[in-house]
């Protein structure tokens, strides 16, 4: 592009009206390039940080897997890293993690969907604006408060109904975690539902559908990709959540899916080890990274499932 000396172009007249000036186009191209580079840097940084975390996880778990065969790691049902004859069956921790997350979803899916349907299809704008701050409030409660709520309030209350419930158990933190992820799943689902075009709802009403039928048979199927994403991400949160389970589910590695018993989840184990002072390089120390790697893979798996579902159900309006 031939450059034009800036003195030739009258700065006040540089505009696109009535034909672009050369200088205007040059300047625009320059700022476009700058913006592209800034955005690229931001994207690259986030990818690099993720890769860095994966690298550290893998690097520090390699020595662990040199001592513990993968088959034992995946099939053993004991997790006793600090015992004299240490056992490393990570499924012990995984079972507790999945149990809590499943209970959380059992709470969050119906309640979240119900709330989202109510806010998007039933509530008038005024009511919607009145309810939303409460959801945000719920979201802003520190997780440690949720943990103590589960331990000191919900567990004793549940014990009056379920006599066999241990003081530390998976049920109470699971329920509390369901409430914790509810605002997130509900508001993301609601956004997805509200972005369903009105014309699609009208098609349902025109056939004689009731409001509920429109919600269940038109809006939810149309918003399914967004709703699935909301619940998959909610599930990821539940799997990675630490404080509630560390406080209310106990620290005892315990294989099984019984919600009435206490058991350490992956995150509870990691935080427990991180708070003790483990000798650097010991097998127990390395086991933290192996457990972290498993946690990462589970989360990754959920996100991949979510990604796949989103693509499968992606709707074009």
């Amino acid at each position: 592009m031939p450059s034009i000396p800036s003195s030739v172009v009258d700065a006040d007249n540089e505009c696109l009206i009535g034909g672009a000036s050369e200088a205007f186009l040059c300047r625009r191209a320059f700022w476009n390039r700058v913006a592209a580079w800034l955005l690229f840097t931001a994207a690259a940084a986030s990818v690099l940080v993720t890769l860095g975390i994966v690298y550290v996880l893998i690097r520090d778990s390699i020595p662990f897997f040199e001592q513990v065969p993968l088959s034992e790691f995946l099939t053993d049902t004991q997790w006793t890293p600090v015992f004299k004859n240490a056992r490393f069956g990570v499924m012990t921790l995984v079972s507790a993690t999945l149990t809590v997350a499943a209970i959380a979803l059992v709470v969050a899916i119906p309640a979240g969907l119900g709330l989202a349907i109510f806010l998007s299809e039933y509530a008038n704008p005024k009511l919607r604006e009145a309810v939303k701050p409460f959801l945000e409030l719920l979201e802003g409660v520190p997780t440690v408060v949720y943990g103590f709520f589960a331990l000191l309030f919900l567990t004793p209350m549940l014990q009056t109904v379920i006599p066999g419930l241990s003081g530390f158990n998976l049920l109470a933190p699971g329920l509390v975690m369901g409430i914790m992820i509810l605002p997130y799943t509900a508001s993301v689902s609601e956004d997805a539902m509200r972005s369903v075009p009105m014309g699609l709802r009208e098609a349902g009403y025109a056939l004689g559908f009731s409001r509920f039928r429109v919600a269940a048979q038109v809006v939810i199927p149309a918003a399914l990709s967004g709703i699935t994403a909301a619940f998959i991400l909610g599930m990821s949160r539940a799997v990675g959540e630490t404080m509630v389970v560390a406080i209310a589910a106990g620290q005892n590695p315990n294989f099984g899916f019984d919600p009435l018993e206490g058991a350490a989840t992956i995150t509870a184990y990691i935080v427990q080890m991180a708070m003790g002072d483990l000798p650097h390089g010991s097998i127990a120390y390395q086991s933290v990274f192996a457990a972290g790697l498993v946690l990462f893979l589970i989360t990754l798996l959920f996100n991949l499932i979510g990604f796949y579902l989103r693509r499968r159900f992606r709707e074009v309006y």
Binding site: G199, E202, A203, A206, F209, R213, A222, L224
Partner: protein, 290 residues
Amino acid sequence: MRNSTKTRVKLLMNEMTSSPHPFGATRQRQDAQPEPVSAPALRAEVRNLDFWYGATHTLKSVSMAVVDCKVTAVIGASGCGKSTLLRCFNRMHDLYPGNRYAGEIQLYPEDRNLIEMDPGMVRLRIGMVFQKPNPFPKSIFENVAAGLRVRGVNGKSLLYERVEQALRGAALWDEAKDRLHDSAYGLSGGQQQRLCIARALAPQPDILLLDEPTSALDPIATAKIEDLLTVLRNTVTVVIVTHNMQQAARISDFTAYMHLGKLVEYGVTEKVFTTPQSPLTNDYITGRFG
């Protein structure tokens, strides 16, 4: 009841061809007019209908008839209230707050004002096809079956029978029969619109409303839908809004011309297009306006 309706239609049609105000002050002239060849039955009759979007007075004392098993076209310039009028028939305006009706849309043969009926009940009897194809995010089969299921049709064989019938009725069967269980979004725009027609036809509505059903389509898809409407003629009662005057002239039996929220002319299509009573209609159909 039916008889009395028939005689009323005779009166109506006589008036309509003679007066720009179909229900105006010319009733006493009825005897002077020649009798129509046969008096068709009415499906619905709009009487002095007013409609407001909030404070905006959009329909002003509209009166017109919807004749059984005939195609009634509503024409007029953009923004004159055609869609608004059409959406009164199935109470679509009730979905949004602040809208208000006054007047009557009498539904026959039972002679009830649908403005006072439950909107859900009205919509179970009056089907609608929109300007933009809006199939549900479901399979082709489920789209057509949706209106049947909501009316309690659940037997598999009956559903299949009715779905096939509706798809044939909408001239989509040959293109869709091998992909009934594929997503409706895999169809082309014209096919999607015919699917929407099939969906509206499947429950056999008393009246089928069409709001510019071909305006988003290319000429070939448009021709297919026009052919389809010609076939439906004499079996289904249709009210169609269209921008396209040739289309109205080709496919309709009766035509209503609207201007700024008022119904200026209503009558047999041929007469409206050849000897319009109102200068406004004349200007519009000769292209001097709108």
